[in-house]
Amino acid sequence: MSAEQQVEELIRGPQYARAQTDKEALLAPLLCGLCRDVALRCPPYARFLERLGRDAASWRTMLDIPPLPAAMFKRFLLSAVPPEQVVRQLQSSATTGQQPSRIVVDKTTAFRQSRALVSILKEHIGPQRRPLLVLDAPQSVAEGESLTARGAAVRGLQNFAAETVFAMQPSASGDLEPDWGQVQDFQARHAQRPVLVFGFTFVVWTRLVVEAQRRGLRFALPGAILLHSGGWKRLTAEAVSKQEFTRQAALVLGCRPEAILDFYGMVEQVGTVFVDCEAGNKHAPAFADVLLRRPGSLEPAQIGESGLIEVLSALPTSFPGQAILTEDEGLLVGVDDCLCGRKGRYFRFLRRVEQTEPRGCGDTFGQGNKREAHL
């Protein structure tokens, strides 16, 4: 079976059925081969592997693949396909003054990302299409060559959507404003049905939950599943815990707290998402895996230890996304024995990596406020 066929089969099949050992035996050689193939078509990545990766021909396990830091997609446009094969460019939501990550997507990758998201979500929310309420503005998925991670997620979810309703609109200041009329209309038409609600975590909190509570609004969507992702750093800064978020969101939407599902994903790995299971853990789908690496040594963390999250995925063909090291820390909870019944390695997201060690009087730039063009 060719690599392409293997990947297709992994995307189509059950996502959490394989024990970790079997999964690694299948996925490791596939990923190693995919990396080598991408390196042939992406000279910067080839240089990266040559300089930091030891002998690629000697790789045997996923640990042998040198992970590419996610930050490199902010710095370099890493493409393994010629420009005419790029169907879109995905961009992260950059903060002011920061360069966003840019990911080039060809037809194969786009198709796989979309199918992969469907396969994953089917195993969490079931296969049936349902009305989708997007807690974002329509502009987030506007047609064009560039798309944010949020937009890509919405497009992926529209594969589940019987209809899509956008609950926000951009205000004059560029912020998002809830369109309460749309939400109430959505409720009126679909209150007794299973529905899907999606939003960026920080947007859900600040623009829906807080604003609804300020107005004394409560909705009745008992069949709703809320999928949300990203923005935890800002919520942590506002002292909003995951439990509090879940409780308040369920109150406002009128749904079960168990139906509030956080998922971990990133623009550098669109399609590869890690959804909270019933036990509150995140599982890697069949075509992907996760490693947690100890800071310093980069050795794999043991069960119960935290480490830097590395996401491995067989999906991308147009960019070197087979092994991405994030700037997030996670806790390795277990392998193959989650209470939810799903197999494989499973983890919990802990935090974004932040500077904690004192830097003191060492000036990182040597030029005060003038930022050197570096990282």
Binding site: R51, R54, P69, A71, V353, E357, R359, C361, G368, L375
Partner: protein
């Protein structure tokens, strides 16, 4: 929010206000002012010997240098250099030309310290005490590593009837949350002199605190340091590997976290050693260093980002340890000061001439580890570098040796009030 006092017996709660501590310190001013300077030096000398003998302190990072620095001969020279050549000014009026001069304490010195160098509190405290100031020191971390042990050994030191315990009564080392504006203001308003060590954010915040009109502010702010290897030195008969070993010693000390640690090292292009080969030599030397202590996630990410950025770029090269994020040598020819990653991450940049480096220098660049074969060329470089704002041009291997002047300042000279008598 409360105050923690760090004592020889560990950390103790010290209430919600600094006022009781400040009052106690002010009560010690008169008696400290009467202690002869030679007795203070003798006490420091005893302290220096004990540091190397005592099990509690002899394993602390940087202790050998601290001990040597505290020796009475060194401190005497240090004081003489700071005090117009005569440390008797600290004990009273000394005839100087046609008048008398004395160096009186400023009074109560308030000091804010960063957490990157474990022995820094002692380097900061001792000059202040030798100038006979009582001192309130705020450390950056509630568990400043080893500080209680250093204070314990100081407490047990004695010489000429003066005990370390008596000296410690003139000092309070505290910690409180740096967000606590009220406590920071209390500290600032009580001070006759403020000494501020830290990064940009800390310095700006502390300078902005209200203070008394006469209060002197002494700032050791954010700094960056570099190395320069001239063509002549690279091509010299004397081994380049020895020079590189000296630089690596500077890199390894305090895991490159200090203001005097070299971050970018500039190499003049030469006939004998291409950039890649010099990089390899640095790599071999770094590989011989003892294993680092546990590394935090943030620094690990910064190291891996730097490695990847250099590896992806076809105009750059990188050599990295294969045992995790241990050490890294990043090489290029882009003439710039690279963002410091620290933790054994060396940026090696080849230049056509050291003249290209001068344009990068400013008062933000503290120390240049300079390696020149030609003394005249070395002087020319130092003239240009110090003219641009650099404070120190020293041999590699000596970059982290705390000395006077530091950051262009004679610290003790600023910790005293020069008074005159002309009867």
């Amino acid at each position: 929010m409360s105050v923690l006092r760090i004592t020889p017996n560990g950390s103790q709660q010290a209430g919600e206000s600094l006022q009781p501590l400040l009052a106690a310190l002010r009560g010690q001013r008169a008696s400290l002012a009467q202690v002869p300077i030679n007795r203070l030096l003798a006490l420091c000398d005893d302290f220096s010997r004990r540091l190397l003998r005592d099990d509690r302190t002899r394993g602390l990072e940087g202790i050998a240098f601290l001990s040597a620095w505290l020796g009475s001969r060194n401190l005497q020279q240090f004081l003489e250099f700071n005090l117009n050549g005569d440390l008797r000014y600290l004990d009273g009026f000394v005839l100087c030309g046609n008048r008398y001069l004395a160096a009186r304490p400023q009074g109560l010195v308030a000091m804010w310290l960063p957490g990157n160098v474990p022995t820094l509190p002692i380097f900061a405290l001792v000059p202040t005490l030798l100038a006979k100031n009582v001192c309130l020191v705020k450390v950056a971390s509630a568990d400043a590593p080893g500080l209680d042990r250093l204070l314990a050994v100081l407490e047990e030191s004695e010489a000429g009837g003066l005990c370390g315990r008596d000296l410690l009564a003139t000092t309070a080392v505290v910690w409180f949350d740096y967000h606590d504006r009220r406590l920071n203001e209390e500290m600032s308003l009580a001070a006759d002199a403020k000494v501020i060590w830290g990064g940009e954010a800390a310095v700006r915040a502390i300078i902005a605190l209200p203070r008394q009109e006469h209060c002197v502010e002494i700032v050791f702010g954010p700094k960056y340091s570099i190395g320069v290897i001239s063509r002549g030195r690279a091509q010299a008969a004397e081994g380049l590997d020895i020079l590189i070993a000296d630089f690596v010693r500077d890199v390894a000390a305090f895991e490159q976290r200090t203001c005097s640690s070299p971050q970018t090292i500039f190499l003049e292009r030469n006939q004998r050693y291409p950039l890649q080969q010099v990089g390899q030599m640095f790599a071999q030397c770094l590989a011989r260093l003892p294993q680092k202590l546990a590394l935090d996630a943030y620094t690990t990410v910064q190291i891996l980002n730097a490695r990847a950025q250099w590896a992806l770029d076809d105009s750059r090269e990188v050599i990295a340890s294969t045992d995790g994020a241990n050490w890294t040598v990043c090489m290029d020819r882009q003439v710039s000061l690279k963002e410091a990653v620290q933790s054994r991450t060396v940026f090696l940049t080849e230049v056509q001439s050291w003249q290209e480096v001068i344009g990068l220098l400013s008062p933000r660049v503290q120390t240049v580890g300079m390696a020149f074969a030609d003394p005249a060329e070395a002087i020319a470089f130092a003239e240009a570098a110090t003219g641009a704002g650099v404070a120190r041009c020293v041999r590699p291997g000596l970059m982290n040796n705390y000395e006077s002047p530091w950051d262009g300042k004679l610290l003790v000279s600023q910790l005293v009030r020069w008074v005159t008598l002309k009867p």
